[in-house]
Symmetry: C2
Subunit: 438 residues, 2 copies
């Protein structure tokens, strides 16, 4: 996770660049600003600053580039060489990209084995098939699709293996499709494959107003008589209360509140937190109940210092004694869709889930909630909004949008801060925990 | 778990008895024999030794009594007052009782909060409803039933709450019914409720020749294209190979053998072992796979000394980091049917499972495998057989049987040892691990 020496990194254009890499978390915190400036200078020599001209050379495309790990100032829109599909790959003219909390962790380098900077972030997009490589039966130019991408989704054009590409229904918009893939698949697999949600069960979901949270509540509504307990910031309560049976302020300890209503606990706990909360989540389970950890948001407390927090929470997380699970008839699970897709060859399992989800969409039983649309050039503002928990549903990068905010709903709590996060860099430890929406 | 002082215990007949209880594992090992003799003398003063006369006073009934925790000599058949049903209870004239590996652990006192001795062991039986208490709608005198009992099943007559009683199909024999309840329910709930077994999956089950193992393999056969990996003693292989896709000698490490056949591992691991094997079991899981610990047989290594082994394995068992589960997309679960039924109010969940199982039975898709029938007076020999892993399928106490061995199959490996276990008391540490069949 910690790189130990200077390495020669190859830029996308083939020009070698010297990228000085971190040797330890403290080095990283100390040297962050210096590295950032150095990297920016190198990039700037080659490419003009944003906004990039809307007239795109067919050999180039616009993309969001992460120039180094750290704050919002490490993100910029730039031109990159046009990718071409290899064998088994589909080339997509991107219309919309999904923004996830995980992208904040990536930006900070707070993930295991991050790619070398600079690179284009983003794990999901929707768009139109522009060309196909060999052996891509089933896809044709002009197909409307959504896709998982192992980085590089935040661009005008993406090439990705056909196993990660799905045709979308005619009436599904591109922002809906980009809001659909990761969050609904994660919610579906957790509820129905890991936890086996059935009639009459109860579910606790944190960040019920987030994109995964909204997917979870919608999927719960497809099963008769499911009780949903949810936590969310108070200002979201009015907007989401129709989808949650019992809604709690995320700033209070929900354990006693849930037990007041359901003394036996709940059947399923979906936890995007970690550490001390694992024990709390387990304690809320009914016998035969399932606790699923799908993210660990207290890893992320702000900027580079959270690299420390990451290591800390890893070691401090409460371990679980299997014999206790045996005595209490409990199940504990972890779920990472990205690992399943890109490290563990889980495409066929994901495909099954997508098919079932598209069927539910066609029956109008689920519909992705889009919080807001942002131009590529507004990626910093969008990230700040997800960081501030301002969103209800999904933040979308709309590739064809010009940089003027266009809200999909009327939330009055939108952060317009943009660069504000930068100024708080020294104050990371005091920040609130954040959800990990993947 | 360790009782700390002398207590006054009330005998079933209402005569107070002084039962000296263990103060520590070493005390227990040291004083086991002495306590046993003391307890036996007290019992013998009141009741004649077995065999008890077949002519039963209607105010009394025959039952197997555990006179103290320890070896086989702590078991005897005796007369007990006839129980009468309380409100909500059903009185059953017992025809057959199930014998589980758990009963060996109970005999040794190797369970959490065991009841005070003397008591009648046994958790399941089948028979005919002889009378009912108030508020027992749905049951009538003469109904053929199977039942879960919170101890006291090994008797001619049992009273148990109606929530634990199920009518059985006309063509299900009483031994089949007694072999059905615990093992098939455990297998069903693990495969279909905890692990969500579906078409095309793979399952590893240890002790595939045991009663739970046979229930697991039969239930796997009700789902298309399920691959079953199983371990069993070599002499059982011929008899059970039709039910297991890949069968391994239980004395070898099956991990590399399974990986040779399926390099990615399996979807479900059912583990009746514990401790070091938890890590092995987890390592065999495919992404999205489920490991279920349903017993911990290396707790039981023989007689009283295993109390030590129990504590040891409790503390030594490998704990699981939830973040590792998250990264690897794995699920770990524990399952204890007895805790679910008798401590955690899980009757309604169990009822759903029983209904589905009876439907499968009626469709002739599953059929309990009965290893052998034993008279109550032969309970020691039966326990020795399960201890020696001699059984294929279920050992049944046939209440109406006279004490002559009657084998349900022709296995040549039957242990006729009976009291042999006693003589090995000093050699517990070298004994093989045993399955925990509940």
């Amino acid at each position: 996770m910690v790189r130990q020496e200077q390495q020669r990194a190859q830029s996308p254009g083939g020009i070698p660049q010297t990228v000085r890499l971190f040797t330890s978390p403290s080095d990283m915190a100390k040297e962050g600003t210096e590295i950032a400036e150095e990297t920016e200078q190198m990039i700037d020599q080659k490419e003009p600053d944003n906004p990039v001209s809307a007239v795109v050379d067919s050999k180039e495309m616009r993309a969001v580039l992460l120039t180094g790990f750290g704050g919002l100032n490490k993100l910029k829109v730039t031109k990159k060489p046009m990718p071409e599909p290899q064998e088994g790959e589909v080339k997509i003219r991107v219309k919309a990209c999904g923004l996830n909390f995980l992208d904040l962790m990536v930006r900070q380098g707070n993930i295991d084995n991050p790619p070398k900077t600079p690179f284009v972030p983003g794990f999901e997009c929707s768009g139109i098939v522009e060309s196909v490589g060999e052996n891509t039966e089933g896809f044709e130019i002009g197909d409307r699709v959504m896709a998982f991408v192992n980085y590089s989704a935040w661009a005008e054009v993406v090439c990705t293996p056909l196993d990660f590409v799905y045709k979308i229904p005619d009436d599904m918009t591109f922002p809906e499709a980009a809001a659909f893939s990761m969050n609904f698949v994660a919610a579906y697999m957790m509820l129905f494959e890991v936890a086996n949600l059935r009639e009459g069960m109860s579910v606790l979901v944190h960040s019920a107003g987030g994109a995964v949270g909204q997917a979870v509540t919608q999927l719960c509504s497809t099963v008769p008589n499911v009780t949903v307990f949810g936590t969310a910031s108070p200002f979201k309560h009015e907007a989401i209360q129709h989808s949650v049976t019992h809604l709690f302020d995320r700033n209070i300890d929900c354990v006693p509140e849930v037990k007041k209503i359901s003394p036996d606990g709940v059947d399923i706990v979906l936890d995007c937190l970690c550490g001390e909360n694992t024990g709390k989540g387990l304690s809320l389970l009914k016998p035969m109940g399932t606790y699923i950890l799908y993210g660990s948001s207290n890893m992320v407390t702000g900027e580079t210092k959270s690299f420390f927090s990451f290591a800390k929470s890893w070691w401090q997380v409460e371990k679980v004694n299997p014999i206790k699970l045996y005595e209490e008839n409990k199940v504990i699970a972890g779920f990472s869709l990205l690992n399943l897709l890109f490290k563990q060859g889980g495409c066929s399992q994901v495909k099954t889930a997508v098919q079932k989800l598209l069927s539910l969409y066609n029956q109008k039983r689920i519909k992705p909630v889009v919080d807001s649309l942002w131009a590529l050039e507004e990626v910093k503002e969008a990230m700040q909004r997800i960081h501030d928990r301002g969103n209800i549903g999904k933040l979308i990068l709309d590739v064809e949008k010009s940089p003027t905010p266009l809200m999909a709903n009327d939330s009055t709590e939108t952060s317009e801060a943009g660069e504000e996060e930068e100024e708080q860099e020294g104050d990371n430890e005091n920040k609130e925990r954040m959800p990990f929406i993947q």
